[in-house]
């Protein structure tokens, strides 16, 4: 088994305020990792460090065996960010144009070809957005926007999909379909790193789970993780801990 992401003693902070402290974590090729933690625990920052979008203050990051800062094959990476659906850009750009951006790393300077357009069509159909392909993205609801960004990540046909609360604002039916799709992609060998507040959903789909609260508290197989008691340690509120239990038992 090769390694998709390798973090070693990674620390990062803003203005001397540590956000991520001394994290060592390895994500195997084909692993589905669910990354959880309280609000402000540094999950998004850690995900960006993993992808080479932030340079850690100390420690090393490798993507597919290459230092993240030197990793140049953008076609292998797909990302849906937390803020995507909250974007208030009034830019005239259609849903199709947004999804086509997922093919840009593959195309480089050439024009998109018939294969690219077919992949874009498939990605739109997978998130049931094909009927809205010609709509201006700023005219869509938050959930619809998020589905468009998910389609863009799918169109990238990446080896590693990084998803930061990808289903915020998405309706329940689409959420179910989305996670089924993630399972299928993972079965095909795609590595997935998912940040999600709904611990039940993460537990249901992820192979492994990790808990971050500035420091990494646990990274293990999902079943072992749930039995480790780390959630009670990190989430001080009993209400939060109990809310995931029934779903996790499904």
């Amino acid at each position: 088994m090769t390694t998709a992401i390798a973090l070693e003693n990674v620390s990062f902070g803003y203005d001397r305020q540590p956000v991520v402290r001394d994290v060592t974590l390895s994500v195997d090729d084909g692993e589905f990792l669910g990354l959880i933690g309280p609000n402000g625990s540094g999950k998004t920052t850690l995900l960006k460090i993993m992808l080479g979008l932030r340079t850690p203050d100390t420690g090393s990051v490798e993507l597919f065996g290459t230092p993240a800062s030197a990793f140049s094959d953008g076609a292998r990476l797909g990302y849906v960010s937390q803020q995507s659906s909250e974007s208030d850009s009034m830019m005239p750009v259609t849903v199709r144009e947004v999804v086509e951006m997922g093919r840009y790393a593959h195309a480089g300077l050439r024009r998109l070809n018939a294969d690219d357009h077919r992949i874009v069509d498939d990605a739109l159909a997978q998130v049931e957005m094909d009927h809205l392909a010609g709509r201006r993205i700023s005219q869509l609801s938050g959930g619809q926007k998020q589905r468009a960004y998910i389609a863009r990540a799918l169109a990238s046909e990446a080896d590693l999909l990084a998803l930061d609360e990808p289903t915020v604002g998405v309706d329940a039916h689409s959420v179910d379909r989305f996670y089924d799709l993630l399972d299928d992609l993972n079965d095909d060998g795609i590595t997935i790193v998912l940040i999600e507040h709904d611990i039940g959903v993460v537990a249901e789909h992820a192979d492994t789970m990790a808990c971050l609260d500035c420091e990494l508290y646990e990274h293990s197989e999902t079943e072992q993780f749930l039995e480790s008691g780390v959630l009670e340690d990190v989430y001080s509120s009993a209400r939060v801990a109990s809310s995931w239990a029934p779903a996790a038992g499904d």
Partner: protein, 327 residues
Amino acid sequence: MAAEGVAHRLATREEYAVLGSLAVMMVVSAAFILTIFPVIYDAFWGSACNAVDTWLVCSGFLQRGFTAGVLIGITAPVVGAYLVNRQMALIGEALAHTAFGGVAIGLFVGAAAPRFDYPLAFALIVATIAALAIQYVAVKTDGYADIPIAIMLTGGFALGIAVISYGVTFHATVESYLFGDILFVPFENVQLMVALTLVVVGTIALTHKQLLFITFDREAARLARINVAFYDTLLIVLTALVVVAAMQILGAILVAGMLVIPVAAAMVLTNSFDHGLLLSVLLGQTAVFGGIFLSYSWDIATGAMIILVAIALYVLALLFSVLLSTT
């Protein structure tokens, strides 16, 4: 800033390919304007004059003015589409003012040494340096993005005024660059504009996807390992080229209008960026032709008339969109 640094270090073959293509386009454009273009130009306007025998088509200065106007109506909205959607509309104004400083230096040098009397070439050099400086300051400091723009805008104009006040003999020529003058476009400037247009449109056609991506979602573009700093710099240098080309007709003060207004009107009327790009060129052409025609009919300054027609088109676009949304 750290992320910008990461992207900046990722110099790949793609950037070298863009720079190589840019160099080839410059050479081909230079060869074209010196050899083929004068023949095409004479043939086109000769046959147009024969077909429509009016002073409007047959006068040499209007032929040069129309040609220059058409080129501005293409390049300005094409570059402006990316600037407006990145909320960088005023950068054109800053570069125009620094280009004006370059014109003043060029006129001063030309007055002292007539063989170096190429004010637009000086404007091109100064505006390009200013463009790179704005980009450098924006990347290297954590300040607001409009601070370097404001400094360049006022600094470039101050430089121009300082040089003018020192050499008052070219006062009338300076005014034509400040306010624009369709009577003041010599054929060699039309040739320069053709070359700039070919380089700008060719570069945009080659890098449209990358520019669109960083305009819409910089973080996702960085993830796709698009060198954001490189394409930011490329766009701002292209803007400098367009501004220098356009300031002959529109003048340094009005040049930003052509970068912004046709794009703003097109944005109201279309959902798609690509369609908006084409529509903004169409609206730009309408503003140029309408502006030149009305300027000639009413004896009003051409640059001002082009911008006023562009604003009228923008207002019409707004009204049309309101009408559509209420029906």
